[in-house]
């Protein structure tokens, strides 16, 4: 931020010094005297206009950048959460086909990680400065449905017997969550 401020100050100072020098030089040599009959007040007005324009541009630019950076951070978090759910989905499909204890533990620990990530995303929603509306409560409900389908009974049974309906429901909820997460990301960058 200070670098930008230094650049803006440098340009302003340059103009403050450069314009009078330019006026003096041209007054003495090239241009006609009528053209150079500039009143001091006009010069000050011009300088003020330029300064206001520069500072407004800087201010708006900073605001937009800050907003974009916030959106980038939330988007990265949603990406990480989405990837984690993708991993769990693959693990779940594999567990349905061939259940073993290792996969069972991996699913449980991955779901914990996903829940922690979702909690961080929900906490950002509670930030009063977050003006973009995203239905995070819906995301939580969908996550719980996803977890219930995968880890409620017959999960952990020896052997677990999943019906075709369970497997279809698991796929459906995963697709639904994925599409909602894409929508969330799109909303982050819409105005």
């Amino acid at each position: 931020m200070w670098n930008r401020l230094a650049i803006v100050s440098f340009i302003a100072c340059g103009m403050l010094i450069g314009i009078p020098i330019g006026v003096i030089i041209t007054n003495q040599c090239a241009l006609s005297s009528i053209f150079l009959e500039v009143k001091l007040i006009q010069l000050i007005q011009l300088l003020m206009t330029l300064l206001i324009a520069i500072f407004l541009t800087y201010f708006i630019n900073t605001l937009i950048n800050r907003d974009l950076k916030k959106s980038d951070i939330v988007c990265d978090l949603i990406d990480t959460y989405q990837n984690k759910l993708g991993d769990i989905f693959i693990l779940g499909e594999s567990y349905f086909q061939n259940a073993d204890y290792e996969k069972q533990r991996e699913i449980i620990s991955s779901l914990k990680t996903a829940s922690i990530l979702l909690n961080i995303i929900i906490e950002i929603k509670r930030d009063k400065h977050n003006k973009k509306f995203i239905n995070y409560d819906g995301l939580w409900n969908d996550f719980i449905k996803f977890k219930i389908i995968l880890t409620d009974s017959p999960f952990g049974e020896k052997p677990p017997k999943y019906s075709l309906e369970d497997i279809n429901n698991f796929e459906s909820i995963y697709k639904l969550i994925s599409s909602k997460l894409y929508n969330c990301k799109l909303k982050l960058y819409s105005y």
């Binding site: 914990k112 829940s115 909690n119 996550f143 995968l150 409620d152 952990g156």
Partner: protein, 112 residues
């Protein structure tokens, strides 16, 4: 003046297991059923007991729905949702959504 209620603490990772498993004891050790019978039900057998039971959920690998539903939903089916919600206090710093999840299992358990 309101009477101060006693608090009993159960730390699942330290007192029970860091790898809680699934629903029933027949499916292996550290099940929700085992946890409910050994650690929760003894505090509910006396109908006059009204002390708080603080349950520390952190420090484990994670919880399957079947474990949580059998432990806490199962307890609510036996002793009532209201009594469970009044006396159980869940603590998790690692996974804050877990507390809401468990409360949901208690509130939505099918009382026979």
């Amino acid at each position: 003046m309101e009477e101060e209620r006693e608090i009993v603490q159960i730390n699942i990772a330290k007192d029970f297991s860091t790898i809680p498993s699934s629903r029933y004891e027949k499916d292996g050790p550290f099940s929700g059923e085992e946890f409910r019978i050994k650690y929760l039900e003894p505090h509910f057998k006396d109908p006059k007991a009204n002390y708080f039971i603080k349950i520390i959920l952190d420090g484990v690998e994670g919880y399957a729905t079947s474990f949580l539903e059998e432990a806490f939903g199962g307890l609510a089916r036996i002793y009532g949702k209201q009594r469970c919600l009044e006396r159980l206090e869940f603590i998790s710093i690692e996974d804050r959504l877990l507390v809401e999840e468990i409360r949901q299992y208690i509130e939505e358990c099918d009382v026979e």
